[in-house]
């Protein structure tokens, strides 16, 4: 019942909004003027929308690849259960539990024009100060980096659990056969981790696609629209500019992306359950 009222009903309303004209003035009316797919064609004609779409794809690709590859490296480095490694793992998990508003604020300070990273750069004279968040050609990448940083502990944790599940004999056998570390990883470890890695990629794709918090805190989607992704654009259209209809249309498109990824996920987990 609760899911129906606060989960499914809002989605139906969202769809209805996306094919109507809705602003702050008539949001509470029961009937909205029906306009068919006008909102969608407005979007498809707008450069902001296509920029947000490109930004989203870049953003998701970066977050997923950095956090999964980095998470794999971290999982391998932290596999042994020695005290320093257990403490490092605990540090990572703690950072993962920090609210995004906290870690986003810290990174905004570190990356700000007068912040820590720039002071370090100017002290060592390697470069001019870099405007990580206020340079339109960099802001998207900076926020993506921080988002990957925030997702990496989760990836490391899941992959580490996966590594623990591999019988040690298989790797010892490879070592006896004279395989190098890299070859053992590539031909023995990685294939066994395949299902874990696939599920992880899907989960982090969805996570990155949903991302809103870090963008809001660090750049507000800017400068201009340089770090605006689809969910951020949806929010901005609706609540900053008051175009609930356009925001809803962006949201519907974003929802379709998620649905496709989710379907992929359900198939993956299903196949594993049967295997």
């Amino acid at each position: 019942m609760f899911v129906a009222v606060f989960g499914i009903y809002p989605l139906l309303e969202l769809f209805r909004m996306s094919v109507s004209t809705v602003g702050f003035a008539n949001i509470l009316d029961n009937r909205w003027p029906f306009v068919g797919f006008d909102n969608f064609s407005t979007l498809f004609d707008s450069p902001t929308f296509s920029e947000a779409l490109t930004n989203t794809l870049i953003f998701v690709t970066l977050v997923v690849s950095i956090s999964v590859v980095g998470g794999m490296a971290a999982a391998l480095a932290l596999r042994a259960a020695t005290l320093p490694r257990r403490l490092t793992l605990a540090l990572l998990v703690f950072v993962w539990t920090l609210p995004p508003v906290v870690s986003g604020s810290v990174w905004r300070f570190l990356f700000s024009s007068e912040g820590v990273v720039n002071e370090a750069i100017s002290r060592t004279h390697i470069h001019e100060p870099v405007f990580w968040l206020s340079d339109p050609s960099l802001s998207l990448y900076s926020v993506a980096f921080v988002n990957a940083w925030a997702a990496l502990p989760f990836a490391a944790l899941v992959l580490r659990a996966g590594l623990m599940g591999i019988p040690p004999q298989t790797m010892e056998a490879a070592a006896v056969d004279g395989a190098s570390g890299w070859r053992t990883f590539w031909y023995v470890t990685l294939p066994q981790l395949r299902p874990v890695v696939l599920v992880l990629i899907v989960l982090i794709t969805v996570y990155a696609f949903r991302s809103f918090d870090f963008i809001f805190i660090m750049t507000l989607g800017g400068p201009g629209t340089s770090s605006t992704t689809l969910p951020y654009l949806a929010y901005q259209q609706a609540f900053t500019l008051g175009f609930f209809d356009l925001g809803a249309a962006v949201a519907v498109i974003a929802g379709l992306f998620v649905a496709v990824t989710a379907a992929f996920y359900v198939r993956l987990t299903r196949r594993e359950a049967h295997a």
Binding site: F6, A80, V106, A120, W149, L203, R210
Partner: protein, 274 residues
């Protein structure tokens, strides 16, 4: 071999150092900056040798802050309670029922769990306005619960799967009602699951700010997270007080983390395996 024991594990050692730097340094600067005054931050933001001062904390701590903290606590505990009350029977039912309907329900929960928050906030604003809840903490609790309920149910269900059905059958033969079977037999056995899910939900609700800044119109209703999010995204320059506020938001999370670290780790891994 990568990550092997013994002397040759250079990769592992380098990895530990890199990770400690990447994840430790931001925390160090979070705390250091909160203990500097404005001049110290302006002159040498990267310096870690300084005379600590509590001036930032003094400027942040006020009765307004206490009210915001109370709002945060109401939202976090309210959401957790609501989720456990609604999610437990739902997870139980989905665990015991393998019909087509239950399969469809699980699939749609997975789907719902993945819908971006920034998109659900748009129609939820209308729903909350319809119920006259805009501006009230209850709207944030309901919205947070709707955001996290699918996740909670999916995470809880396998814990119920592990409860042997024979145990429950024996109880119902003895004449116990469905409700009694759930509360007296199954619930004590899934205590760990409830604690894990409760902790995760609490942590997320504690830091959530999007619903809060959207639904809560008056300043005095805002939780801590929304206060920080608004100040940093709009004026973010007075770093000392901002970092002090961030530390204060993080402290309760640290306490919960220390109390539940092990369980949390297992819960996270389990969540990914669902």
């Amino acid at each position: 071999m990568i990550g092997a024991r013994g002397q040759r594990d250079v990769f592992g050692r380098v990895g530990v150092v890199v990770l400690v730097l990447l994840y430790g340094v931001p925390l160090v600067y979070l705390i250091a900056t909160s203990l500097k005054n404005r001049v110290q931050i302006f002159d040498a933001p990267a310096s870690l040798l300084f005379h600590p001062t509590f001036s930032s904390y003094e400027s942040v701590i006020s009765s307004d802050l206490a009210r915001a903290a109370a709002n945060t606590a109401i939202i976090a505990f309210g959401t957790t309670a609501l989720i456990l009350v609604l999610g437990t029977p739902a997870a139980y039912w989905l665990s015991r029922n393998r019909s087509f309907l239950a399969t469809v329900a699980v699939a749609s929960l997975i789907l719902l769990q993945m819908v971006p928050q920034a998109t659900t906030v748009i129609p939820l604003f209308k729903v909350m306005a319809l119920f006259g809840l805009i501006g009230q903490l209850l709207s944030v609790i309901l919205a947070d619960a709707s955001l996290l309920l699918p996740f909670a149910v999916i995470l809880l269900r396998p814990f119920f799967d592990a409860v042997p059905a024979e145990l429950e059958e024996a109880a119902s033969i003895d004449g116990a009602s469905r409700f009694r079977v759930l509360t007296r037999i199954a619930l004590p056995l899934v205590r760990n699951g409830l604690l894990t899910v409760g902790t995760l939900v609490w942590i997320i609700a504690w830091g959530e700010f999007l619903y809060a800044i959207t639904f809560l119109t008056e300043e005095e209703r805002l939780p801590l997270s929304a206060l920080l999010a608004r100040q940093i995204s709009q004026f973010g320059t007075d770093w000392g007080p901002l970092m002090a506020l961030a530390v204060l938001i993080a402290l309760p999370v640290l306490v919960v983390f220390v109390l539940t670290e092990r369980r949390l780790r297992e819960g996270l891994v389990l969540g990914a395996e669902r």
